[in-house]
Amino acid sequence: MNAAQFLLSLIDASKGIQGRTLLQKRAFFVSLLSGIDSGLGFDAYYYGPYSSTLDNTVAQLKNLDFVVEDDTPFGIISGGFEMRRYDYKLTPQGTEVVSKLRSTEEYKRILENVRRIEAAGNPNYFELSIAAKAFFILRKQRRPMSTEEIKREAEKFSWDIQPQSLEKAVTFLQRLGLTKEAGKN
């Protein structure tokens, strides 16, 4: 399954995705949990996992009329710009393409893991970002860590994570069985 098929399947299985950050982080976790290597190539940045291929592929899927991006303003950010949320859903033609993928093994794994993420608390983009950062630290350390230890590590990266948010993120990772995975040697 290539990156375009993966993203169409992910948006379909998620019944649309609200926000660019949520799309990035959800794609990261679903790739990780499903073991599907679609070539998105997530890299660990200080702000969490990010795939430039994902950005380019979404732009291409929009051009091909498979995905539609709606933007909604919601407040002003530092520097004075209006902040906008970008929501993604499939067009009828995108749905037609996905309908042929639904019977594939990969699609079923994507759907299963979208359901797992939802069942584990269905974090919003902010919570999922923290979970991704916490996972990054755990994987880097290759050992089980307490919430306090993760927080201390996060400070080294200048990540300002509130203890409450971090605990929520760790609970989410635990529910997905990723804390053990991340701490494995």
């Binding site: 890299d43 990010y50 380019n56 530092s78 393409v97 042929k100 993928l101």
Partner: protein, 454 residues
Amino acid sequence: MSAGLEVRDPIHGFIYREPHEHDIVDSKAFQRLRRLKQLALANLVYPGANHTRFEHSLGAFHIAGRIASRLQISPADSRLIRLAALLHDIGHGPFSHVSEPILRKHSQAEKINLKPKQQVHELISAQIIKEDPSLAGLILDTDRTKTVDLLNGEYGYSVFKEIVSGPLDADKQDYLLRDSYFCGVKYGVFDLERLVNSLTVHEDEEDKFLAISSDGVHVLEQFVLAKYYMSTQVYRHRIRLITDEMIGRAIGLGIDVDGIKWLKQIYSYDGSTDYIREYMEWNDERLTTKILEESSETYACSIFHRLRDRRLLKCIFDVKHNELTDPSSRMTVFTGSDDFHKPLEKLVAERWGYDKNLVICSPVTFKSAAKTESEISVIGPIKPRFFREESTLFSAVNLAINEQRFQVYAPAVYKDERDHKRQHREFYNDIIAMISKLSDPQASLSLEERGSAL
């Protein structure tokens, strides 16, 4: 150290270099850029397009200096920005961008640390800046590191990198004007003076970014249009696309099928000093000559002979993304890679009796290049806005820029114009049918099975 020197340039008039910059230009590493053509074999379409990375680098350096001065950046940082612009192309290999996918394929990933969005030639540039002996005595060690960091966006404010590499960078400002001039076309012309004078800095609590003042919106539109027209008329010219693909295919086959060891070595970047030393000896002319000395039986040699004699492959199929009405076909054609291209090349070769290695599938996409332009900050009297919100023209250009095409090249021969038209009808109908069959995701056939299934 030499005295500073002015050099006359057809685009910018006099370009002044400080004594240390003059010495860098005279270094062996920089002089090599004289032997790398800016537009590879675009001279087969535009005979005047023989300009090189050398004069382009000088032009980018000149514009970067002007922008830094306009933005009142400190002398120390301005010096680094000019240096980064001067050296930004130092790591290009023979035929410049054509080399990149081959470098990516053959470089030793476990030994190099390629970051997302980073190209292999950029890593090579960084290593040359840090290690090249001809630059060693000319740039302080600390400045070498800072220059590399600046090119990677890891030194100072974001605006520093954006002057050298970004949607409004000095690189693009120079190459649009220069390529336009040497190709003898007017498509890339825009008001450079106005653009540079409209640039400003936008800052938030943490960083500073390159932006444009609200009275510069129209010149920015002109700049975006120039890029669009140059893309359609020069960079994406049909013949240029074919020659680029032929160079890439010749080198690829030379390594993978002909087994030419020296050729593989050029593209097997491993981060070592020995590799860089050898790499610096290569340029367009030397590579061409050496390939032409290989046995005429080799693909590499025979394709380079075709290029030398301008016996080019023909574009036998060309379709825009919105012409493919079947969504599955559109999906396969524009998002598939070798898993789709190779079976289609094989089918086309079998159908019309061509050598499958001389049939090339080529998706032509702009990779959402306009996305970054859309987010250029326009600084108005009340609040900043994005360029896409300020410019009514941009959305139309953006739509046009996003057009994607899919082409197939092959060694077709036409007896006359009538035969040309007849064959093209046949190519079109049959290739559409092949795409449709290959687009069926239910069919989990292997490459060979796919080939024989049709």
